[in-house]
Symmetry: D2
Subunit: 179 residues, 4 copies
C-alpha cells in the first residue's frame, strides 16, 4: 500500500504539515505540494458544444502522481472554515478529468482508493471544521473513495500543533490504520 | 441600500446567475464576476518576518468595489459540495486584507454589511449544500457580517433552475428583504 | 396518495402546527399528536437473550396508523436545536419495531414512503436547525424513506409564524409536491 | 473540580458507558443514569397564562445533583443519529427550569460549567454523529456552558468499543483535560 499526501497549505513546515508528517512517521509517501504548481481554475464546459479544452498547466501531471497510489491523505490548513483555495481549485478540476478521454479510467481508479483528511485551524477546529469534514464526505461519496478517517487539529502560531495532544494521538491511530 | 453580487461561477448565464438575477429582479446592483479577473491564491505570511507582500493582480480593485456596497450576495454554483475554487481563493485573500495597511478599516467596514448566499447544484443541493451554508455562517460570524438568508437551488443543465419552483419562490422572499 | 402528519409539539395550535396546516391547506390527512399518547422510551434489548419485551402503551397503534399512509410529514417545534423528546422517543422505538415479529414488513413498508420535515424554532432556525435536518437525512437514509423536502420556520410567540413569509411560501411549494 | 456523568443509555455496561468509564479512569464522579428515573416530557407552557406547572417526577432531583458539579459529561449511545429520547426529554425540561422560581440561578450556574460529549454508535459515528455534535454545540452556546471536547466511538455488539483504538486514545486525552 502506497501513500500520496496532497498538501493544500501555503507555508512550508506549517502546523498541518507537521501533524501530517507526525502521522506518516517516516514512512515513504509521495508528497504533492499544490502551492508549488500552476493549477488553473476550472471553466465549466460541461454544456459547451466543444466541451472542455485542454489546459496547459501542471494539473494533469499531479493527477497522474496521485493516481499511482492507494491511499490519499488530503492535508489542508483550515482557511475560512474550509480547505484552501488551492486545494479546492485542484479538486474542482476533477470535473474535467471525469470527462477527459486521456483519463478514461479516472473514476474507476479513484474508487479503489481510500482517503484520510488532516486539517488544522486556529479557531475551534474540532467544531468549526465539521462542515469541511462533511463536505469531504460528500466529495468522497460522489467519486466513490472510501473515507477512512480524519483528524482536526488546533494550531495557529508555527509549531503550536505540538501542544494539541488529542490531535497527535489521533493521527497516531490513523497511522496504524494506514499501514 | 446598494447591492454587490459576487459571482463565483465560470459559465455566463448559468443556473446560479439566473436564480440570482431572478432575486435581484432588475434592481441596480454591482456585479463582480470573479472568473473574469486575475486573483492570485493567498500565500500565508502571517508569521513571516516581512509579512504579506503586495500582489499585483485584480483583487484589491474587486475588494474596493465590494466595500462600496451595503448588501453582499455571494452567488456560487456548487462545485464538489462547496463554493467554487475561484470564490474560495477570493475569500482566502481576506486574511491578507485584514492585515493590509491600505485597508485599515476592512473588518469594521465588513461588519456594517449584511449578506445573502445563493447556491445552485445538481446533486440534492438542499441537503448536500448544507455544509456550504454552515461554512458561510462561520465566515460571516468571524468577520462580523450579518447573515440574512440563503437559497439552495437545484439545476444541472442550462436553464433547469426555472423548474425549481421552491428556489424561485424563496429568492423572491429574499428579494423583499433586500430592498 | 394519503398523508400522515406526525406532530411532535406539546402545545395545540402552536406555530409548527400552523405552518404545517398551511402546507396541508385543507387536504385530508391523518394527524398523529404524539403528546396525546403514552409512548414508553425504548429499552435497548438487541443483545439481550430474551430480546425486546412487548410494551403495553400506545406506540404500536400509532405505528399502524402511520404505516397506512404514503407520505409522512414530521412536524416538530425545535426544542434545544433538535426534534422534541416526544418525537425522538417515538422514533427510537422503531429499533424495536424493526425486530418485532408482529411487523415483519416494517422496513419494507417504510421504504415505499416519502417524507417531509417541517420544523419551527425561535433562534435562527434556518441556520441552527440544519443539524436537525441532517439528522433526519440520516434517519430516512437508514430506513430507506425518500426525503423529499423540508421547511425551517421562524416563530416564538403564538402566531408569529405568519410573519415568516419565506417559510409560508416554502410550504406552499412543498404542498404542490405532496399532492 | 468535580464531575457529573449524565448517562443517556438504556443498557447497563453498554459501549458508551464503557468508553466513558475508560475516560474517567477510576476518578470520583457522580453518575446519573437517566433511564433509572421517571422524567416526564415537557409541556410547553411558556405562553400559557398559568405558566409551567410543577411536575411530580424525578427531574428536579436530578438537576440538583447535576448542578452540584463543575464538569458535565453527556454520555449517550447514538440512537437514530441523535442522543437518546431519554436524554433529549431530560434536556427539554431545562426550558422549564429556566423559568422555575425554585431555580432562580439555573442559567448562571450552568454558565460556570464545562461540558464534554461522549457518544457511541454502530453506523459510521465519526461522520454520521456530527449533526449530534453540532446540536450539542448550539445547546451549550445557548445556555453558556463551555464545550470542551467530544469523542465519537464505534461500537455495536457488547464490548466492541474496546476495538476502537482511536476512540480509546481520544478519551484518554479528554481525561487529562478534565482533571
Amino acid at each position: 500500500m502506497s501513500i500520496a499526501i496532497i498538501y493544500g497549505g501555503t507555508r512550508k513546515n506549517g502546523n498541518t504539515e507537521m501533524l501530517t508528517e507526525h502521522a506518516i512517521h517516516g514512512r515513504q509517501a509521495e508528497r504533492i505540494y499544490l502551492d508549488d504548481y500552476q493549477i488553473v481554475p476550472i471553466k465549466d464546459s460541461r454544456h459547451a458544444k466543444e466541451g472542455f479544452q485542454d489546459i496547459d498547466d501542471d494539473y494533469n501531471l499531479l493527477i497522474k502522481r496521485l493516481l499511482a497510489h492507494d491511499t490519499l491523505v488530503f492535508s489542508t490548513p483550515i482557511y475560512w472554515f474550509g480547505m484552501t483555495g488551492q486545494m479546492k481549485t485542484f479538486i474542482d478540476r476533477w470535473s474535467q478529468t471525469l470527462r477527459d478521454l486521456n483519463f478514461p479510467e479516472f473514476k474507476k481508479q479513484m474508487q479503489s482508493k481510500n482517503a484520510f483528511v488532516i486539517a488544522v485551524g486556529g479557531d475551534n477546529p474540532r467544531l468549526k471544521g465539521l462542515p469541511l469534514i462533511q463536505q469531504f464526505q460528500y466529495i468522497f461519496d460522489f467519486i466513490g473513495i472510501s473515507f477512512d478517517g480524519y483528524v482536526l487539529g488546533l494550531g495557529n502560531k508555527p509549531g503550536e500543533i505540538y501542544k494539541d495532544q488529542q490531535a497527535l494521538s489521533m493521527v497516531n491511530q490513523l497511522f496504524h490504520k494506514m499501514v
